[in-house]
Symmetry: C2
Subunit: 328 residues, 2 copies
């Protein structure tokens, strides 16, 4: 049976929301989850939820890594839940790791205890973005590596290519370089050098530069970026949506007539907002790690964890890690 | 009388929409506009619009720079409308330049014919963003300089500081560095070096790192970024809004009941969308040029041009260029 190890202690709403999402995911995708953390706390959460006990096991881990702890701290806490969860994957007790705590801690634990795919310089965070196009785009790196080289970006292109082939069944994914203009010759020194490398690589279909709007409106299947600008693209997009929702709320509350309007529009609005909700579009993959690792944002509720499990299950089923390994 | 020179030939909807916006702006802000371009085409547009002729003059320029023309081409076309418009500012016939054509051409014309403020290494594009906070944030550089140094970013901070003091009457603007995390020590090599410089500069209030969401939801008055990540932040935010509007449209069209819901919600929705519409929040300033230069996006309609004139008028009235000059 497919088994996924979950850091039950990581995330703003751990352990309750993490465990609820994990067990919902286990039931939905017919898998088993290993809830890794402090057994007494986990048992308390599970009791509250009243789920059948067949779909989970508890794995003890006495320590917890808090948000914002340094990499040095992570190395010291050898019995932290995220580390024990990573070890479950390394030792074959689980086929994937799902974590909603600190991204840095998850990356460190994955690197130290699961390891990189041989030949991969640095893993990248790969996030499938919501899109108005029929098929979505994966952005990588969405924030793991602030400083990148053209060689790293070329590996990100390759990993994104395999991901879209495996998980989205696109034969020859369109690989775009996130840039500030579509024309060749645009961009900073790294973008220019990367453009040249991607153009001459030959292992994937490079379509040239893409811009920020293509991330959400189509045009490319894979958006390659350094982790600095990739993360800024993502957070700016999230920010503008937060702003828009706040403005929309104020507009609807500005008169009785508009309040009434909201009641009529609510079903369509909820549907559209759900489409762009970070809870909905699931976790990000740490591509380049020698195992399936999915990280969900720190503020994840149960639905986000359930969706992160969906991402992990798809990655396991489509053997995306094996396929990356064979192509590097 | 305040006079603004407008490149009547630049932009996707030139000359009609540009001229309509220019004349609307002239009437609204009680200024005169110089419509720079081919007189026969300008006269045709003006005739269609049937405006009083007191608020504009026509200045002849025989050539036009098309979108995507190289910098070399710009240098050759000495009688192009954007260049003649820039010369109007240099020679004192106008106090500001407004252009909706190629950003590169406007930047080149401004640099070559108006010049930099002494001591400024490179001008930046400063764009005031829509916000859900009571006071907006100016992002600079929004795309003029793909490769930046910490020294350039420090000058951007200084110019943004003066801008918010002058135009938004904020005594001590909060200056943030656009980064991928709030903690000190986050970011790429440039961000780390810039953080250090901004922290020790002393000429403005540096509040540390900010993230993409702060651009639109408050927290800083000035967001300092290299032109690469600044432009990506902007385009990603525009992209996600385009996506959301498209999804919302589909949702409202998905059933008769939802169509009815749209009719009731329309006033509030239009109000909210207007708030984030690039046509509405006006043009971007080329800060660091020794004169007021406002660029509007290539797809500007009349309303965007009218708003670009608003930005130019405010910059003239608040003497933002003089104040930057005196502080460098």
């Amino acid at each position: 049976m497919t088994t996924i190890a979950i850091d039950a202690m990581g995330g703003d709403y751990a352990p309750d929301e993490i465990i609820q999402g994990a067990i919902q995911g286990a039931k939905r995708y017919n898998i088993k989850v290993l809830l890794v953390g402090q057994p007494d706390l986990i048992n308390q959460s599970v009791k509250k939820l009243d789920f059948p006990d067949k779909c989970y096991d508890i794995v003890e881990a006495s320590e917890v890594i808090e948000m914002g702890e340094s990499a040095a701290a992570i190395r010291k806490k050898k019995n932290a839940s995220i580390i024990v969860a990573a070890k479950c994957v390394k030792q074959g007790q689980a086929q994937a790791l799902v974590a909603a705590g600190s991204t840095g801690a998850a990356m460190s634990a994955a690197l130290l205890y699961i390891g990189r795919i041989e030949g991969i310089e640095r893993p990248a965070i790969g996030l499938v973005l919501p899109s108005s196009a029929p098929s979505p785009c994966i952005l990588l790196d969405a924030g793991a590596n602030a400083d990148c080289t053209a060689e790293m970006l070329t590996q990100f292109a390759l990993m994104g290519n395999v991901f879209m082939q495996s998980v989205y069944q696109i034969d020859t994914p369109k690989i775009g370089l996130l840039n500030i203009g579509e024309e060749a010759g645009k961009g900073n020194a790294l973008a220019l050098q990367t453009y040249d490398q991607l153009m001459h690589d030959g292992r994937f279909q490079f379509i040239g530069n893409i811009e920020g709007h293509n991330l959400f409106t189509g045009g490319a299947d894979v958006a390659v970026a350094d982790g600095f600008s990739g993360n800024i693209a993502l957070k700016s997009a999230e920010g503008v949506m937060t702003m828009f929702r706040s403005i929309l709320k104020n507009e609807f509350e500005s008169s009785q007539r508009k309040k009434l309007g909201y009641l009529f529009a609510k079903p369509a609005l909820k549907g559209a907002i759900r489409h762009v909700d970070p809870e909905e579009f699931g976790g990000a993959l740490l591509l380049g790690i020698n195992g399936v690792c999915v990280i969900s944002h720190g503020g994840s509720h149960a639905r986000a964890v359930e969706n992160a499990i969906r991402v992990a299950v798809h990655a396991i089923e489509t053997k995306v890690i094996d396929r990356i390994t064979s192509q590097i």
